[in-house]
Every structure is written in structure tokens, then in C-alpha cells.
Symmetry: C2
Subunit: 178 residues, 2 copies
DNA sequence: TCCCTAACGCAACGATCGCTGCAGAACTGG
DNA sequence: CCAGTTCTGCAGCGATCGTTGCGTTAGGGA
């Protein structure tokens, strides 16, 4: 989701970006999503509000950016030797990630601002799932796997209060593979 | 989700409530969720902003109220004689409901404001599912049915751009019942 | 090392938000 | 029909939001 390659990836720009992203995540965990405004984020990040407005423009774009960063590169595709093993390990990792209230708050907020926000949360997951399945010969369709694995997992995380534990998530693999 | 029984269910109060709910749904379809503020809603509803603030207090509570109304009483539990038939018919209805962009916008917005909002969207669905399964002898667990039926359905609706058609939703019943 | 561009801080502005008195209108029950 | 209660409209307020122009600072390339 990084827009091309930033002209200046390192230095102050990177620090500001990290500080703002961190501020958004922190504020989402400790207060209501409605209290999340640009000036508040800027104050928490130790940055001038103008900077936030100029770099991200809208709260929606900022949240999409945070979601994309938060849900990228944090989970590595496992390699256990078997398709079932890979899926089980990966599902446990994803479930553990979703069990974090911070992660959940970011996801809820990103969904609330439009279509792009929701997609930013799962784009990397779909890519990982495709990689696992392709290595396994593409036996189950990626679409079907996403429906039966990611579907229940994210549904529970968002709509029901109960957290989805890793064991239960692993059990979903049996539904898919039989 | 209706707080007890409103002291005055009929008359002007009901008209105002309906107008405000309708305004929220309309505004969510035609503009960004960030543009959804109390004064804007009041203006569209032809009501004074003070009224909206006093009756609902927060945009979050208003959205939760709208979601609860929108996702209650719109789908009737079918009775085809067989558990499979009931589930297939019901799933097709739910999928059709979710295919409406208006419905989707309300759901996204409700999710964005916190935990209660998400639960308000599916509380009635869970009750309906429980009713269907209980009549069928409670063969599959309600939890499992919700995971395998509602999970993929809502996941597709929220995260992926593709709408979930009724036929595909019916196919999920086969995964659950075998 | 020096220059040049991009990014940031600062200050001010108009617009909007959310809230709070008070007065009038509408609905319900007798 | 009338009285009591509840709900709504109105006007105004302080606070905050989002934007803009300009000067300054930090990073990267020759």
C-alpha cells in the first residue's frame, strides 16, 4: 500500500510517519473511535496538525495507511512440509494476531471509513493464503479457502465479542481439507 | 436493541425517529462516512440538531440504533419442512439483503464505532439461526453454523469487493450439513 | 563540503461542532 | 375537553476542526 517509493524513505519523514501511525494505534486502544481526530493524533505523535493534514489529507486515508502497515509483514508464511501443517500454523498465527484488542480496534476503524479500509486489512492475508495453496498444488481454490478459513475467523473477531483462539482456528482447516 | 419500550411509541416521536434513521441511511449511501455528523443528519431529516443530540447523544449510539432497526424484522424465518431447505432459503435471503450497498454502508459505519455496533448487526441473525436449528432438533451447533454460514457471508460483504450472491450463499449450507 | 528540494512548524482564519438555557408545541390519560 | 408530562424548536455560547500562506529546517545529490 506504500504509494510507489517515497522520495525520502529515511530520516525525519520516516520518523514522523512512524510516530503518527503509533499515535493512531494507541489512541484507538484507549479511547472511543469517535475521539480520533487529526489534531488529537498530531498532538499524541508530537507533530504539528498541519503535517498530518498535508501528508494524509483525510482521516480515512490515514486509517487505511495504518491498517495496511499493521497487516503487512507481521506474519511469515510457514513451511512445515505439508499443506495441512502450513495452513494450521498460519491460521494459529492469524488468530493470535486477531486476538489483540489493538489489532481489532485498528481493523474496526479502517472498516468504518469505506471500502478501501476493509480491503487493506486482508490484502496481505489473501496473498499469504495464495502462496501457501499454490505451493501445495492449488488443491483447494483460494476463494473457497478464504471463505472457510478467513471468513469465520474475521467474523468472530468483528461481530461477536468472543475472541477466536488459535486451536479453534486450526480446526477450521479440517473443515476445508476434510 | 430498542431501550425498553419508548414512553411514547406513536406520534411525532416516532416520525422524528423514522426521519432521522432514514436520513442516516441515505447519507451513508451518497457520501463518505466521515461526512456523517449530527448537524448534517438533522438537516437532512428536517429536524433540529438539538433533537438528535438529546435523543441519541452520540453518533455511535445513533448508528447502533439505526443498525439494530435495519437488521431486525426484515427477514422472516422460513418453514420449508426440512432443515436444509430452511437454511438454504434463509441464507439466500440474508445474502440478498447484504447485496444492497445501503445495507453494507450502514453495517460498515456501525462496526466503525465500537463493539456494540457490530453486535447490533448480527444479533437478530443469530436469533433466527438458533430458531431454525432448534426446530430441526439442534443437530449442528449454533456456534458452528454461525461460523460456517454467517462467517463467509459477512466476510465477503465487508472485506472483499465482490458481492455474495444468493446461490453461493446457499452452497455454504452443503459445507455445514455435508 | 555546499546547494537544492522537500518536508515541517507556526500563526491566523472562517466554519462547524456539540452543548445549554428557556419557551412553545404535541401527545397521553382522565 | 382539559391538565400533565414529554418532546421539540430556537438562539447563542465556547471549543474544536480543517485550511492556507509563509518562513524555517532537515536530507539527499554533485
Amino acid at each position: 500500500m506504500t504509494p510507489g517509493i517515497p522520495p525520502r524513505p529515511g530520516g525525519r519523514s520516516a520518523r514522523v510517519r512512524a510516530a503518527v501511525h503509533r499515535a493512531v494505534e494507541e489512541l484507538l486502544t484507549e479511547s472511543s473511535p469517535e475521539a480520533l481526530t487529526m489534531p488529537v493524533i498530531a498532538a499524541r505523535a508530537g507533530v504539528h496538525p498541519t503535517t498530518v493534514y498535508r501528508r494524509w489529507g483525510t482521516l480515512g486515508e490515514l486509517l487505511a495507511s495504518v491498517a495496511a502497515s499493521r497487516f503487512s509483514g507481521d506474519i511469515v508464511v510457514p513451511d512445515t512440509g505439508s499443506l495441512r501443517g502450513d495452513l494450521e500454523t498460519w491460521m494459529a498465527d492469524v488468530a493470535t494476531d486477531l486476538a489483540d484488542p489493538d489489532t481489532l480496534a485498528v481493523m474496526r476503524a479502517a472498516i468504518g471509513v469505506g471500502e478501501e479500509g476493509g480491503c487493506a486489512c486482508v490484502a496481505d492475508r489473501h496473498a499469504q493464503l495464495a502462496a501457501i495453496l499454490e505451493r501445495g498444488g492449488g488443491a483447494p481454490d483460494v476463494e473457497r479457502a478464504a471463505d472457510l478459513l478467513l471468513g469465520p475467523l474475521y467474523y468472530r473477531a468483528i461481530f461477536t465479542g468472543r475472541p477466536a483462539d488459535a486451536d479453534w482456528a486450526r480446526g477450521l482447516v479440517s473443515v476445508l481439507l476434510g
